[in-house]
Symmetry: C5
Subunit: 354 residues, 5 copies
């Protein structure tokens, strides 16, 4: 179960008031920094807000500041102050139920997106809000809990894979967004496997628990689709950007992510239709099973009913009932009974009722 769309608790507070609405956090919040340029990388874990603001100001390097744990409102506020962020941004960062959006604050761009983490071994898939601030020479990303989808990006920075080290903060921002959309794909694929699994099970053994599964899956597929949908606009705005923060050469890449976003949405739609199909099959299977049972039972009863009647007839106490005194009356009765039974059975068989 993903967490989006649950629990929206803020109300009645002045604008800019920060209220964390996600799950209660377990680990303390932490700030990590990656400062890199063509010539090298420097990673620091657990820095203070003040340090990180200072580091950010270094020219010629790109600084990626990653804050884990937006439940720590004090920390987020401190970070906000260091980077000179607008109070409304801080409010959005901790109110982790935002739709994906991009806001242009001249000096920096504020992007909110939903990050889906695929199931991993025992760990179930989960989703959280990721806030990205793209400024001159730095990217500030804020996430809810430990664990994200950015490890491949970190790896590429560390090992100078691809072109990332030679590019600016805008490219890093793109790489993060690309990773977010790609992981939506992965999560969708896992959901798709569950859909196929359901498709098989629903015919084999249709019980009511499947119904809840179908609906839960439907909701999750819909959630991925709904979360990814506004990303299209974010990416379009980003490539149309005129704040000077995004290099025009990045447009091709952003269009590529945009295409992926559309693909995610379409795939989600396909799954959604498949689930509708599964639901139809479920209903049909359930009623089919019941019908088979009821029909068979009714057929059994119907075969015995005339037989019982005949037995009743010969149990009557009329003084003059010639059959009763026949020598082989009883055996004749059994023969008749068997004949009737076989005939009815054959008839029902012929009619495909059994």
């Amino acid at each position: 179960m993903f967490g989006f769309g649950r629990g929206v608790k803020k109300a009645g507070l002045p604008p800019g008031t920060m209220v964390y609405v996600g799950k209660a956090a377990e680990q303390p919040a932490r700030i990590d920094i990656m400062d890199y340029s063509d010539s090298g990388v420097e990673e620091t874990r657990g820095v203070s807000p003040e340090q990180c603001a200072m580091l950010t100001r270094k020219p010629d390097t790109v600084t990626w500041v990653n804050v884990t744990g937006v439940h720590d409102i004090g920390l987020v506020e401190a970070v906000g102050k260091c980077f000179g962020l607008h109070p409304l941004i801080l409010e959005d960062i901790v109110n982790t139920q935002q739709r994906a959006k991009l806001e242009d604050y001249n000096d920096y761009l504020f992007i909110v997106a939903r990050m889906f983490l695929p199931a991993n071994g025992q760990e179930p898939p989960r989703d959280e809000q990721i806030s990205i601030i793209l400024g001159k020479g730095f990217v500030l990303s804020l996430q809810e809990t430990e664990g994200d989808v950015f490890d491949p990006v970190r790896e590429r920075i560390r090992k100078a894979k691809g072109r990332i080290r030679g590019k600016g903060a805008d490219y890093l921002c793109y790489a993060l967004l690309d990773m977010i959309v790609d992981n939506c794909f992965r999560v969708l694929e896992q959901l798709g496997n569950q859909v196929e699994d359901l498709q098989d099970r629903v015919v084999e053994k249709p019980d009511q628990s499947l119904l809840s599964e179908i609906h839960a899956l439907k909701r999750e597929v819909a959630l991925v689709r709904r979360s990814v949908w506004p990303m299209r606009e974010v990416l379009s705005s980003l490539s149309r950007d005129d704040s000077g923060l995004v290099d025009p050469s990045l447009r091709l890449y952003l269009r590529d992510v945009h295409d992926h976003t559309v693909q995610v949405a379409e795939t989600a739609e396909i799954y959604s239709e498949n689930l509708a199909g599964v639901f139809d099959v479920y209903l049909s299977s359930v009623s089919n099973r019941l019908n088979e049972t009821m029909r068979l039972l009714t057929v059994i009863a119907t075969i015995f009913i005339p037989l019982t009647f005949l037995a009743g007839v010969y149990g009557m106490n009329f003084t003059y009932m010639p059959e009763l005194h026949w020598r082989y009356g009883y055996y004749a009765f059994w023969c008749a009974i068997t004949a009737i039974g076989v005939f009815m059975f054959a008839f029902f068989k012929h009619r495909k009722w059994i």
Copy 2:
């Protein structure tokens, strides 16, 4: 049950004719005033329309005139005259079934919105129309009954919390709209809890009263969504305003409320889909229960039918029925009967019919 969309009584009257269409009011109407600036606040309850118009004209302060009880058409008319409001506005104020809208009358802006009040202890949630007139240095708000969602705003004015005291009438107007949208969230959340509650109950004990509850909830969720939807336009118009009544610096805040509005609408949609799921589960549960019952009953009947037949056979009066005279015929009968019964039971069990 909310009241929107019920009872639209006006017809055939000249434009500007005021007809109150809400529930009959219980308390007398009343005008309250808050007059504040950076330097202080002055609150007056129960002023006359004339007084309030006079107060409004004070330069350098922001005056918030709040009219409670638009059923008092005389009072609304008097207020309208003092503030020089157009007759069509007065008509809309008392005809409390308006869609949210913003109308620009050059000297002032007229905003209508629907205000949702969350359930509070014993009190059920309710909704009413709120009309807001934003003029130079004043905000005039008119509501249907005692009790609104603006107490936190009043508190902020009184205690100079946040920036409200240092800002103009446009900021107050924004604060009121923000409060209205935030409370839609709260009401939605309460509805969301009811949806989850239904989700549990529908599996446990699906009776028909649930169906009405599902539909009632669906209607209420739809109502919130429908009421909030046109607010988007109101907020967009407000931030594009060129009447000089809204300061451009307010745009960020208005965009923020706009985002919340979209979020409310999306959340309502999610709940609505969940309710559709609940409905499916309800139908399936009902039919499941019935099917279980009918199948079990039919199985019982089917097991007894051949047994009864056999008993009938040995109740026959044929002269020559050797079994009847066997020493242990009766006991053999019971053994056969038991064997058949057990076999059928096992067979049905095996087929998962019981």
Copy 3:
């Protein structure tokens, strides 16, 4: 049952050919005139087309020519000639199944709308087409049968209520449109009452006639919605008018009617959704009733089946059946039978099957 969307008979005739497609008319057609200005009103009933054209040309007064009975093609043609109307307009006037539309013929505007008359005492609600031609100093309205929704306007003209006497023909045209939309509300409200009535009856006594009622109501609500929908465009065009026939000061009023139109459409949508809910409840109630019955009957049968079996057993004619000869065997049988019956009853009760 409204008449819109039934019977479209014209085909294969040259354009401008007039074919009346409504119900056969009963009364003869008639032309009534109201000629008014600030200083007075003059009403004439049953004038000839020639007279009315003459009257229309009076400067300084507004003339409202109302033609009742467009089935009289000759009269309509004569009127058309006097007012210099385009043949296509005449065709539209008598072909009374038009969508609401506004057409600008430079010298005059041609408006078609659907007029809904609420039920009134014994009379059922009905709808007819109303054609309005707004020219310089005159309004020509043509309706299908006796009886319309304009009596309040006539009253306002006669008694100089509101501002109507001091305004021009455009204001009269607005007043008529306002009346038309307002009466859609009234009709909708009556339909809404029927919906609520159905909501109650569907739970109490769900029989199949309700189904037809639901569908009939659905169609009528849809019809009102569909008829009102294109009015939005008519009103927008009217307020954007650049033919000089509509005074800009009227725009506020037209926007007001426009808002009402949207409200009608929304209310119709709400009713439509409620009806969908009623339909669900109907289906569920029907199946519920059946299920209750069938379950109860099956339970009765199931209780008696083992009892009958036992009775069958003791009706057998085995020579050696010790129980038969017990002193209180028969009473023991009754006790056993009662015990089994009570136990089964209790069991079924416990399982909530009864």
Copy 4:
């Protein structure tokens, strides 16, 4: 059953290759000509392509060339050559499954539309593609088989009814389109009658053949709607035409046809909704009938079950059964049996189960 949307056979051929995809033709193809002006009409049947091209060039007259039988690809090709038509047009003419469209080839306009012919006596309704080329002074129309909806136009030309003889080729083209749309109305009306007929029959005698009828009708209504829908665009383009082929004075007429097109589409939608209602009633009627039957049968069985039990009881062979030896035991039994039966019958009646 209409033919649109069936059998699309062309694939893999160079553009401009002509492949006829309609039903196999029975009559030979033929070219008819009507050449008319204010002063007279000249009709020639069965001319050769060369002749007709020559005739077309006559100044001061309008020539209507009507080709019946586009299955004769050779003829269509010859006509195409004479009129200098683009190969893609010829391909579209014979590939008779085109959507309605208008293409501007500077010297002429190419219009494709679907023509619906109402049922006529024994003949079922049918549809075919009609291609119209509007050039300077001529209209070339190509249809699939003998029989079209244009006879009223021919009559008007012959008898100089209306203004057609005094107008140009554009007016003729309009007249043809008007006729096409008008006949869609007629076909729709016939379908509408079938819908109403179904509405009655579905309640009276709901058997499964009705289901196929409902779906067939649904498909046909949808087909008319779908065929007419793109005509709106054709007519808009035609009235916006800047090729000089369409006189601006025709715009009013084209707008009129446009309105009719919208009306056809709306009427089709209404029928479609009615059919959805019929389907609901069908389902409900079927289940209602079954339920009535099953309930009645179950009630009968349930009444007899306790009676049979009692009979079984007094068929037991206990030695001591006092009732058996009562003087009027047997009569008492019958009384008891009758009482129980009547009571149960009354009870079931009371519960409305019978």
Copy 5:
């Protein structure tokens, strides 16, 4: 079963990383070349990437380079290098789950489409991604596996059929797209035949396997529709092209393909609606069959129930039961029994229950 929308494996890799996501390939990849001009054709199979790039540069001829087997990432990369393709293009080429799209890279246009191959004898229909790069004087097409829909184009080039040899690379590109859309038609037609086949079978013998077939067919029709839909945009962009690669004279042809695309989409929609109808009929047929059976069985049981009761009555052991001792009591019993049975049978027959 088509393959689109299954298996999207890429995630977390730098942009431009090529990952093949289609089915595992069986044959080795291969490059074929057709180099043609008005004067002649030269075909070479199995050239190396370097050769083909060289050939491409020949002026005055059009070179069609066709790569079969995009699973060979090395080959695709080599080709990409020779033609100077952007890494993102290469990624899209091998990630064979792209939506149809057109991207303008100034020097060349990149088109992705989905190619449907109709069933052919034993071979089932299949779909694969086709990537087309249109450059100055060359067309590069890349497909997944051996076998495509372009053989008619090759034939036309070889035999100089139509105008293809005299036209440029843009015309070849158009011819390929035309072929792709035409084959969508063919595949749709085959699906359409299956739909009609289902329509018959569903009434004759409705078993649950049909349900899966209906849903599978629905998915395939939806897939064709969804794949063809974005082609509209591709074709529009192509005809609006301002890169100088597409000759304006091609616009007519592109509009033609565009029209076909719309037709495919509409036909798919029609099939989709037909399938919805088939589904309804399936449900109705299944329940109809069951109902027939259950009703008949219940009628049989109901007829025997009173008979069995009567037999029970005369099996009672009351001392005084006059009927038992009548001379023809037993025969009278049989007469009564028969009369009752016949009467009930006739009654049920009359009520149409049998």
